[in-house]
Amino acid sequence: MSAATSRPGTADRSTVTETIKLRLRAPARLRNLELLLLIFAGAIGTGALVLVQLGALGAVDSTVISFGAGVLGLSLVMHIALRFVAVEADPFILPIATLLNGLGIAMIYRIDIAQGQLGWEASGLRQMAWTAIAMAAALAVLIAIRNHRVLQRYRYIAMFVGIGLLLLPLIPGVGREINGAQVWIGIGPQREDGSVPLSFQPGELAKIALAVFFAGYLVTARDSLSLVGRKFLGMRFPRVRDLGPILIIWLASMGVLVFQRDLGTSLLYFGLFLVMIYVATGRLSWVLLGLSMFVGGAILASQILGYVGNRFNGWLDAFNDDIYNQAGGSYQLVQGIFGMAGGGLIGTGLGQGRPDIVPFADSDFIIASLGEELGLTGLFAILALFLLFVSRGFRIGFAGQDDFGRLLGVGLSFVIALQVFIVIGGITRVIPLTGLTTPFMAAGGSSLLANWIIAALLLRLSDTVRNQPRLVVES
């Protein structure tokens, strides 16, 4: 399907060198594939909701289904918008996000039923509303940012926004401590169980701002970061004056760890930064330096801060009776593991297990809930979806035309991969348990909003990747 260029911008090129012909992909095919996958994702999501109702209630409640259909309708709206504003965007990102989001809603709704929550108290309904808001925000991002390169210009603003968002929960009056972590802002009085009527985790959005800042900053600064330095043990280590950024990020991560008592978020930001600086500079020394700084800080923190030490003990010796029964011990972790074991290979079936035994079964531990009711098979499918999502993002890194876009694509998709690893790795005892949300699935508006914006940015980036015509030299 080589097309002999009737497109405007390419016309001058072909007049410069007659021997070069352009080969373009047929854009509609990608969107049609996306529509097909989206219908598939919608069928699975709706099916999951129906199964939850049949399994847990024994009857179908059409109001909830129609809400779910409304959410599905929004993703169709997004699909139609893509046909106009990002014709060549990656066709897998939207269906995967929709499917994960839909499964998450079904599971959250299922746990609402188990806990007898109804109306706007129910997390499932809130999650649907937040999904709508998040998709609308994603749509706005897609429409507003027609060329991702403009983001590079705002890298320092992004830095201030990112750090500001991170620090926001520490401001008295705005910040709220929920379940031991000071990572929330809230409006309205705190309830007895610790929840706040309207609460938000600004740190989730900060990861986008920080990824934009890292990408923009590293693209301009990488030469000085990579080429200059002293060789030591066969590796080139950076100059002390170039250590500024890594020190700032390390301090910020440690600040999150110490003042906000959130090990997971701290690890997430620092890991994101390390990977992006490594990809930008190609210097392994940065990774070693950064890792040793973080591990050193974390070990120190585990000695000084009780909550970090508890997390480590609960990880290494989860089934010890003392640790299991201790406040802040491994009860939640062990009950989550019991749930997954109860599910076995094929799961109990939606609505048939008892995921609500585990504290935070619909947010931090939603993966354990899904593992119980969908089994190992379901978990593998979910992990495979995440892996596919991340690989689509990495594709931008491999195939992108500009370094800022490539770096941003890698950063945003790696942050999803790392978050999945930290949360699921914590639940399945690969690493110590930390309180992070499973992207697209866990109950929580801020997380949904942030991840849908990431999806929108990846869609935008993938569109610009493919918009670059592939040149084929013909003799």
């Binding site: 299991y324 019991f338 074991a341 109860g342 290979l345 008892r354 035994i357 593992g371 995440f386 990495f394």
Partner: protein
């Protein structure tokens, strides 16, 4: 940049491989051991929400799981709680079970091995798993008669069909309401349990088979007489010296007969008359002459010191020969001293005599039936032992009939039917007497063997226990 990207991609892949691996370990490789962890409430909850099979008496459920709108889905309900509490026992969510509920928990909950494929089939075909139902050998008429006859007394009644070992009635008083322990509010269960434990009448004790053993008193003379005759050393007519008091060997203590004086007025008394009139002194002499080894051998043949599950475990009755000195042997020979029994054991002695010397294994289980109506376990008649010969049994029957017709057990007489019986009144150092009756009827073609014990006895076995036994036997004979 691509080289670095490849490496990062490899790292991401490794991270996901770790997650695939760790979830496989949990959900597949270690799943079985995680499921049986005692802290795994899912496994416990799952066992509650299977529909536990009912316990049936004559086809009517005395314990059944009734659907209820809570997370456990079923509430164990006892329709005649106190009447059957000694049989059913109780079922709690997490405080332990007792009785048939506890002993047949595997079958009732559907987790017994022979129900595995049935349960698997139920899962595949989408049915809710159910436990098997247990039909009891209890005869509701006899059970009710025993309950009513025991009245306000503290004690127990056990009735056995001598030819099969089927337990027709088993009553223990004080009784309790197992519904109190089947509630789903665990604090209420704990409170009820503590109240029952602290109750001075100790209602949780199944006096028929467990808990405290009783001194059998004169009903033990049946065992000693049977041993004497069956061993061939004595006959019913063997004569014994008949003094009003007897100085115990190696002791300054002396014993006397319950009524005072000597037994018949004559210088000597036959074994038959000694049993008929329940005289202590001839039996003390007989026991001393037989020796503790012989008596111990016959107690074991009758079921003493034999592990027994009916299906709940029966406390073993004892005749502790090893550290028994001569004086203790003398007084144990008429049921005092160190010999201790359960009412079920006493009923088994009568049942063995009634069944021509063959002791059938007592059981409560008529059949166990799977939800698909397949009989998993039909009724089984098992011979537990053959303690005495048919001939000895015949002689013993004659002696026991005489005991009722013109002897110490006169209150067990039933018009038109020969009743074989023996009373007992065991003295408990200053506390209330333990009053006994055991026997069977009709003497020639026995349909029921019975043992009655009354703990808080005022009077004698014949005045209190024998009428109760008569009522129970009449309940069978009038059918």
């Amino acid at each position: 940049m691509n080289k670095e990207l490849k490496r990062v991609s490899a790292v991401v892949l490794l991270m996901f491989v770790a997650l695939f691996g760790s979830s496989t370990v949990i959900s597949a490789l270690e799943a079985d051991s995680l499921r049986v962890d005692p802290r795994n409430t899912r496994t416990i909850l799952a066992s509650y929400s299977t529909e536990r099979g009912p316990i049936l008496v004559d086809g009517v459920a005395v314990a059944e799981s009734v659907p209820i709108d809570d997370e456990f889905r079923f509430l164990r309900t006892y329709s005649q709680p106190e009447l059957y509490s000694a049989v059913t026992g109780y079922f709690t969510l997490n405080q332990g079970d007792s009785g048939v509920e506890g002993a047949l928990n595997d079958a009732l909950s559907g987790t017994a091995n022979d129900q595995f494929f049935a349960q698997l089939n139920a899962v595949i075909t989408g049915q809710d798993p159910k436990g098997a139902s247990v039909e009891l050998t209890i005869d509701p008429v006899v059970q009710q008669a025993a309950w009513d006859a025991l009245g306000d007394n503290t004690g127990s009644v056990v009735a056995i069909d001598p030819s099969t070992g089927a337990i027709l009635a088993m009553v223990s008083k004080e009784a309790y309401d197992p519904n109190l322990l089947a509630q789903h509010d665990s604090q209420a269960v704990i409170d009820s349990y503590n109240a029952l434990i602290e109750d001075p009448n100790r209602p949780l004790l199944n006096r028929a088979i467990g808990g405290d053993l009783y001194a059998p008193g004169s009903v033990f003379k049946l065992v000693v007489a049977a041993a004497a005759i069956d061993s061939g050393q004595y006959t019913a007519d063997s004569q014994f010296p008949n003094p009003p008091t007897l100085q115990l060997p190696q002791s300054s203590d002396s014993i006397s007969n319950a009524e005072g004086g000597n037994c018949t007025g004559a210088d000597t008394v036959s074994l038959a008359d000694a049993l008929r009139l329940s005289c202590n002194i001839p039996f003390a002499q007989l026991g001393g002459a037989l020796g503790k080894e012989t008596i111990a051998e016959y107690t074991e043949r009758f079921g003493f010191e034999t592990p027994l599950e009916i299906p709940q475990t029966v406390t073993e009755s004892v005749f502790p020969e090893t550290d028994m000195d001569e004086p203790t042997l003398y007084i144990s020979s008429f049921g005092q001293g160190s010999v201790r029994t359960t009412p079920l054991q006493v009923a088994m002695v009568s049942a063995a005599i009634a069944n021509q010397g063959t002791l059938m294994t007592p059981t409560l289980v008529e059949s166990i039936t799977a939800p698909n109506l397949e009989v998993i376990e039909p009724f089984q008649e098992d011979v537990l032992s053959e303690p005495i010969s048919e001939e000895t049994a015949g002689t013993m029957t004659e002696l026991m009939v005489a005991n009722v017709n013109n002897g110490a057990a006169s209150n067990a007489r039933i018009n038109g039917v020969d009743v074989a019986g023996k009373t007992g009144t065991a003295q408990n150092d200053g506390r209330d007497n333990t009053l006994w009756f055991t026997g069977f009827a009709p003497a020639q073609n026995p349909e029921i063997a019975v043992a009655v014990v009354v703990e808080n006895g005022q009077g004698f076995g014949n005045s209190v226990a024998a009428p109760i036994a008569r009522t129970v036997m009449e309940a069978v004979l009038n059918k």
